[in-house]
């Protein structure tokens, strides 16, 4: 039998349900794994092992006492981790920033609350680029997370802590957030499955805002089936988030038969251009051929506005961020650097406690919204944004799904792009369009490069068609084994 820490979420849930394993055993196995690997990977910003074990024992007692196991919370006693931009009542929430050091929110994010209601045990909070701004987790004020496949490389970002934790099998699943690719890109870099829902499908309440019109809460798991398992617990209208949609959440039933006949898969030519690493391109093409071998019809499509994704995103997201981050002024919570005057407090607190990338984006956004520039930048970017939506609408009249690389390359070495923000921004070029259009996406491993680093592919579907992503991703994973590979880390 595989050691417990290698089990995926679906296996754990089933084994717990059948009483083949206890929550304490499972939780302890992952906590031991964390203890062994955390010093090398630094996936976590906060851990509560004692509380977790206590809850696990509590879950076991509850399971032992019940007459009718069907009445138990369905995920009772399952350990998970949560990205540190989501609030968990009573756990510090730093967002990877000094400006929220020591801040303990007195409320749960809706996604967190729903997982807790389903019985999940939260082991801790995972590392992130400061306020989710970054593609490598190097922008965390608390030090970078390392890629479990190669500790000299980045795990991607901004949900690098969650992706690395799942890849290193420190947790079976974790929540992440995706504003411009922050779930899918680290999933690709770490060889795990990253799922981003439709904007409006999953509540943002308790997700510390970065780019409000782009932010989504997603999952990092070993398998597509695991993502599909978690999805119904996270999705659905939330009265606390006016941007969630009251659209029914379908029950996800994954077929045992990997049959993709009748499925039309579009391959956007703008995603296979110069700059994409040949090995990435080759692996993605191979994966698309694999879908074809399962019965899918593949056709080339065009998403003509793809080249404008980076400029449009880097106006809209920083503009929203410039307002979203205005609340960190040292007055009500978080550390304050005292000053002579009110303005002095503001300048010192914000000037010293925000990191350089956050300041860069606040400046960008403030500029783009300024009188005299608003029309040329923000208003224009919003107009172009509608063109992304139209690109996808047109494409989805011809195809059911779109398949493309997640990122142009595999995980890059730590420090290699930190001095060049533009090169870092270009990392997001293939993930940004889904956020700009608000459509769901799913990234999963489809191969490895010559350095043994994972390569990811993403599927994109029309709004609220997440189940299509799960069906196709699951068909792929039931006939391949890339997702079962474990990084060669020796505790």
């Amino acid at each position: 039998m595989k050691p417990l820490w290698q089990w995926n979420l679906t296996d754990i849930v089933q084994a717990l349900h059948r009483g083949e394993v206890s929550s304490e055993e499972v939780t302890r196995a992952f906590l031991e794994r964390i203890q062994a690997l955390e010093p090398r990977i630094h996936a976590f910003l906060h851990l509560e092992p004692e509380a977790a074990l206590h809850q696990a024992r509590e879950a076991d007692r509850r399971r032992a006492k019940t007459q009718d196991p069907d009445t138990l919370p369905p995920l009772l006693g399952v350990p998970m981790a949560v990205k540190d931009v989501l609030t968990v009542r009573g756990m510090p929430c730093t967002c990877g920033s000094r400006i929220l050091e020591g801040f303990v929110p007195p409320y749960n994010a809706t996604t967190v609350q729903r997982l807790l209601d389903a019985g999940v045990i939260i082991l801790g909070k995972t590392n992130t680029d400061e306020f989710a701004m970054g593609s490598s987790t190097e922008n965390s004020a608390y030090g970078p997370t390392r890629n479990p496949w190669d500790l000299s490389r980045v795990p991607g970002g901004s949900s690098g802590g969650s992706a690395a934790a799942v890849a290193a099998r420190m947790v079976p699943a974790a929540l992440g957030t995706d504003t411009g690719g922050s779930v899918r890109q680290p999933a690709a870099f770490c060889g795990v499955t990253g799922f981003k829902p439709t904007y409006g499908r999953v509540s943002r309440y308790g997700l510390v805002a970065y780019g409000s019109s782009l932010d989504t809460v997603g999952t990092l798991t070993q398998t597509v089936a695991d993502a599909a398992l978690l999805f119904p617990y996270l999705a659905g209208f939330d009265p606390r988030d006016a941007t969630t949609m009251d659209v029914p959440v379908p029950e996800v039933v994954l077929s045992q038969e990997p049959d993709l006949r009748g499925l039309r898969v579009g391959v956007p030519r703008e995603y296979f251009v110069e700059g994409v690493h040949p090995q990435v391109e080759a692996a993605v093409h191979a994966a698309i051929r694999h879908l074809e071998s399962l019965g899918a019809e593949v056709q080339e499509i065009s998403l003509p506005h793809t080249p404008y994704a980076v400029p449009v995103y880097y106006i809209i997201a920083p503009s929203e961020a410039s307002a979203n981050l205005a609340r960190y002024d040292g007055i009500r919570y978080g550390p304050r650097i005292q000053g002579e005057t009110m303005w002095d407090i503001f300048f010192k607190t914000r000037g010293r406690l925000f990191g350089p990338e956050v300041k860069r984006r606040i400046m960008l956004g403030t500029y783009a919204l300024s009188a005299g520039y608003y029309d040329a930048y923000y208003a224009k970017a919003q107009k172009v944004r509608t063109l992304f939506r139209r690109d996808f609408e047109r494409a989805f009249r011809e195809v059911d799904l779109i398949a493309a690389p997640v990122a142009p390359s595999t995980a890059f070495p730590l420090g290699s792009k930190t001095q060049d923000p533009l090169a870092m921004y270009l990392e997001d070029i293939f993930t940004l369009p889904a956020n700009l259009a608000g459509i769901p996406g799913l990234a999963f491993p489809v191969g490895f490069d010559q350095d043994g680093l994972p390569i990811g592919m993403q599927l994109m579907a029309p709004p609220f068609q997440e189940s299509r992503l799960f069906a196709v991703g699951h068909a792929y994973q039931s006939t391949t084994d890339w997702h079962t590979r474990v990084p060669p880390l020796h505790p």
Binding site: A242, E320, R327, L369
Partner: protein, 493 residues
Amino acid sequence: MEYEAVIGLEVHAELLTRSKMFCSCPVVDLTEAEPNTAVCEVCAGMPGTLPVVNRRAVEYALRVALALECHIARESVFARKNYFYPDLPKGYQISQYELPLATGGRLPIRTSHGERSVRIRRVHLEEDTGKLTHVEGPEGPYSLVDLNRAGVPLLEIVSEPDMHTVEEVRAYGRGLRQLLRYLGVNTGDMQKGLLRFEANVSVRPKGSQELGTRVEIKNLNSFKALEEAVAFEIRRQIRVLEAGGRIEQETLGWDEARRVTVSQRGKEEAHDYRYFPEPDLPPLVVDDDWLEQVRAEMPELPWEKFRRFQEVYGLPEYETALLTADRPVADYFEVAVQAARKHGVREPLRVAHWMTGELFRLLNQRGLSIEEAPVPPEELAALLGFLQRGDINKNTAQRVLAEMFETGQRAQSIIEARGLRQVSDESRIHQWVEEVLQAHPDEVAKYVKGKEGVANWLFGQVMRKARGQANPQVVRKILMERLQALRRDQANA
């Protein structure tokens, strides 16, 4: 040169909803509640929290917009107004900017020059800020932040620069306050800051169509301050122009103590609020059903009531204005008129006079509102019934009303318990008159000889004998008949 002032008003009215604009915290009285007790993670602007629109606040805003005959946007958009201040928890205020809830209405006003209307530019919804208290501590000054008010729904009503005199400013300000109170959306309490005025003032040569440079006056927390500040500013600007100077575009404050406007912020310090649509809130959709529902709940508007009171009750303008100033007063009047009719009092004007005269005087003495009046309208009507039937005279009625006010007793019980019912029985009064005439033969003789004034003295004696309970009209009638008879007898003798 003759100058003309051009004035526009911007009004901020807190809406009297139970909960705040974007969260479920209660709206509390700042002067009563402990600081920071009506605060949650949403209105404290804590990380990750999101706003949700209070539909009741939208309905209150729609009432005002409908009353002002505005064009109501079927889709309006919330926007973020960005600036830093410790009383602004999120670092931005959720307001409306490019697409407000309502535009282009009018408020009818009445001045000594008659009726006209002031055009309304826009009506929009936003959230209020917290409140800072600056303290001089032993180790230096510091400030305290109270977030109880943060997130309270605020309605902004902006007029066109349509007013030209202080009288018009007063009529508009009071008219708008009256309307908000009628609609039940605001108490009109300016001292507590629930209703706040800002004035834009400029002057120009009379006859000119161009607008002069305007200043904005903030911090006007009473009608007195509003009127004085506008008057001061008009005079100041005319003086500056006449001396060949130029008006600076600036924001001024009103210094209550020195009664002058003082500069707060110049043009070059003007904020760039970097407005942009609030991504956390979808456009606010007002569909027909919702609008109809709000329309159906609309009360009679002040100017409608004014017209009806004149037409139905035949009241003069002065009394109408007094009785329709406030809805509870008007309601009291209407109940009293109805009840008075049952007691045989057919003239609404009589009810009006007793209310605006005696009742208001008593209320003012005690500092009570009409809702707190110890005399319900039915009892005032009953009292007027006794007066109408001649059971009591006017003086007695005034005394009885005061006692009703004091004790809360009914008119009837007071009149009966104190034996105040006046005597109209002619045989009783005849007897009193005869007794008085016999007791004062010298005075009677004087009258007979032609000294008219004595009649009044004798009248007083009869009333005294009757201990004030005699119907004075009957007394006077019988006394005069007797005296004239005596005079005739003398002449015939």
